[in-house]
């Protein structure tokens, strides 16, 4: 089993490396060998050789720098997503897959154009919130937090519905993008640690798409309790 953590040292805000650690543990506890490649700017990878790809979030400047490098994967990431292989891009990393990103000075950057959405950044206010989202493929909500300065418009295949917190743009009730087994969300941080049910879902996709191993969940008691506490606290708070 091969996992790829792209731009691990520059798109790495707020403990996001742990998303890969969580997958590594659940797959290896399921009896499979796991190999993780961590590569960054200037490296090249054959994306099709991997069973899962992760990119985390970065500063606005670093995202533009990575975008320039990431452009070389335009065709291969499209092929990867089209072949229904799983990938997770968190924070502003998934913005790179849209049509354009306009920065706070009005400068337009061309995205990879895999999806039709457009991104506009500003530098006046950081948009932050604890969030509770729901998803049609999960029987429990997702918890986490968002920290961004951009709005996204033009997503037609949403990943999450906003229960509490903020969505793709002001007043949007949706968040993120789902296409086949590709997941893009602005939720930042170790979302797969904080949401063991989402971890399980993605591990299952990896299993189904590759070797059909049985995913082990025995080690997740603490994670499950932590999730229940956070969901309880957020529901309590937002219900006030």
């Amino acid at each position: 089993m091969k996992l790829l953590h792209l731009y691990h040292d520059i798109m790495n805000l707020y403990g996001e490396y742990a998303n890969v650690s969580a997958l590594e543990r659940i797959i290896s506890n399921s009896g499979e060998n796991v190999e993780i490649d961590r590569i960054s700017l200037g490296d090249t990878a054959d994306l099709q050789a991997y069973d899962f790809i992760y990119i985390g979030s970065g500063t606005e400047d670093n995202q533009k720098l990575v975008l320039e490098d990431f452009a070389k994967y335009k065709d291969s990431i499209a092929e990867y997503i089209n072949s229904n292989k799983p990938a997770l891009f968190t924070g502003n990393s998934f913005e790179m897959l849209g049509k354009t990103i306009i920065d706070c000075n009005g400068k337009e950057y061309e995205g990879l154009g895999i999806f039709d959405f457009k991104v506009v950044e500003q530098n006046k206010r950081r948009v932050t919130a604890d969030i509770v989202y729901t998803a049609d493929f999960l029987n429990k909500p997702v918890v986490g937090f968002v920290n961004k300065c951009s709005e996204i418009n033009g997503i037609d295949s949403h990943l999450f519905q906003v229960k509490y917190g903020i969505g793709d743009s002001k007043d949007s009730t949706n968040e993120g993008i789902r296409s086949n087994s590709f997941f893009g969300t602005h939720v930042t941080g170790p979302i797969l640690i904080k949401n063991p049910h989402l971890l399980l879902y993605i591990a299952q996709l990896i299993s189904n798409n590759t070797r059909d191993f049985a995913v082990s969940t025995e080690h997740l008691q603490r994670e499950n309790s932590a999730y229940e506490v956070t969901l309880r606290e957020l529901n309590k708070r937002y219900a006030q």
């Binding site: 707020y14 920290n147 506490v229």
Partner: protein, 440 residues
């Protein structure tokens, strides 16, 4: 007339607020409503020293104030820690005559890093200390680069910058500029050749984004960095910790001035160095500064010693959501002789609500694998998040005890062991622990 009236209103509100124990930002807020440009019309003293940065502001400002006051100077400073424009306005107006003159030698302002540009719109500091820029309060703040941009807008060209040379991002404020006062730590025994944190915010040059190299690290990404591509590097420093013996608790500044530490952490060393630098610049004799800073115990209650039954302990307040601050507290505990460590995360923040614990994953808990550390007790509402985080650390499983109730955790530690207790927690939770022990 409007000026006098505004000053009077502010003074009265401050006085009344003091009687009923209300916060110190409301009088300034009202003054700014009556007269938005009021600060521009106040006559300020010769020295206006501002301090900002992610960490160490309050401690640094307290030590500067202490040193200057002990040296016979009259200092006006925001000791309540109200560090946004409203609090600073209250501070200035309540210390001003009705004609609008602040009567002191030095006005010393701790400023919130995100809002400094508003505070310093009408006040031009003569000296501006920037301590460091770290990941901090991620559910409210932007990342360090975002905060950097906010601080940049607050800097007046005529202000003398006093910068931490060891922080690659802070150093950008002085990039290609003359006339910067740099302070920093030289080669000291605790330096490491390799990076030992969980994430490295110094991996890429903040100026040109090329990979950056370090000849040594003091802690996290603070150290001797150099970018081969654009030449951005750790500057030579005018005020330098030339030796530091943290075990003994003594530092030497500029090969000559010795200061003994009441808190043996490198973090504290930086705060002391910044305070030394400011006091020296405003004209206090260096030997006298050493006298006042030696063994100085901060009054801001960030470090509290206590007794629990037969055991002695130290509580170190470490901002939740700030991994570098946390790392320093963990190192302090792990470097001491035999001890138990209690970590409490019960409420993530004191001032606002968040349930986010992503910052736990940026903390290097591995330092607690040290043999000195006997038990690691994880307590509070978020103890399961802590336990999960520790399950991904190198800390030996058998050391870890997860006890949700703080009271039960205290009872667990109330035994006949001779080992010291370190408690690491945040402002929001420290009272919940200190209630249950005897504070020394």
């Amino acid at each position: 007339m409007r000026k006098q009236f505004t000053i009077l209103v502010c003074k009265i509100l401050k006085f009344v607020g003091g009687l009923i124990g209300k916060g110190s930002s409301l009088p300034g807020q009202i003054a700014l409503k009556i007269y938005p440009d009021i600060l521009g019309s106040i006559q300020l003293p010769k020295y206006i020293v501002a301090v900002t940065g992610s960490n160490g502001k309050t401690s640094t400002v307290e030590m500067i104030a202490h040193t200057l006051c002990e040296s016979g100077k009259k200092v006006v400073w925001n000791k309540e820690g109200s560090n946004q424009i409203e609090g600073v306005t209250t501070l200035i107006l309540s210390n001003s005559t009705l004609s609008g003159k602040v009567k002191c030698d030095i006005l010393l302002i701790e400023s919130d890093e995100r809002f400094a540009k508003y505070t310093f719109k009408y006040i031009t500091p003569t000296h501006y200390v920037i301590t460091n820029l770290y990941r901090d309060q991620l559910t409210r703040n932007g990342h360090p680069q975002w905060v950097y941009n906010a601080i940049k807008d607050s800097i007046h060209p005529e202000t003398q910058l006093i910068l931490n040379a060891d922080d690659p991002l802070v150093s950008c404020f002085g990039y290609k500029k003359e006339n910067i006062t740099w302070f920093g730590v030289g080669d000291i025994p605790t330096d490491t050749k390799d990076f030992d944190g969980v994430y490295n915010d110094g991996a890429y040059c903040p100026i040109c984004k090329a990979p950056m190299t370090y000849s040594s690290y003091h802690y996290d990404h603070i150290g001797m960095y150099e970018c081969a591509n654009c030449g951005h590097k750790r500057n030579d420093t005018e005020y330098t910790v030339t030796d530091a013996d943290l075990e003994k608790g003594e530092i030497t500044i500029n090969d000559k001035y010795k200061i003994t530490l009441s808190l043996k952490s490198l973090y504290n060393v930086y705060n002391i160095l910044a305070a030394f630098t400011v006091a020296s610049i405003v004209g206090v004799d260096n030997d006298e500064i050493c006298k006042h800073l030696s063994n100085y115990v901060l009054k801001n209650f960030r470090v509290v010693t206590f007794t629990l039954g037969n055991r002695k302990g130290t509580l170190v307040t470490s901002k939740h959501e700030n991994s570098i601050s946390y790392n320093q507290s963990l190192k302090l505990a792990a470097s001491d002789k035999e001890c138990d460590v209690l970590i409490i995360v019960d409420a993530v923040s004191r001032k606002y609500f968040t349930s986010d614990v992503s910052w736990l994953w940026d903390i290097n808990f591995d330092v607690l694998k040290s043999e000195n550390v006997r038990n690691v007790v994880l307590a509070g509402t978020y103890c399961n998040d802590l336990a999960t985080r520790f399950s991904y650390s190198q800390v030996q499983k058998e050391k870890i005890k997860v006890i949700e109730s703080i009271e039960d955790a205290v009872n667990f530690l109330d035994n006949d062991s001779k080992d010291k207790i370190y408690v690491i927690t945040c402002f929001s939770d420290k009272g919940k622990f200190l209630d249950k022990v005897k504070v020394d």
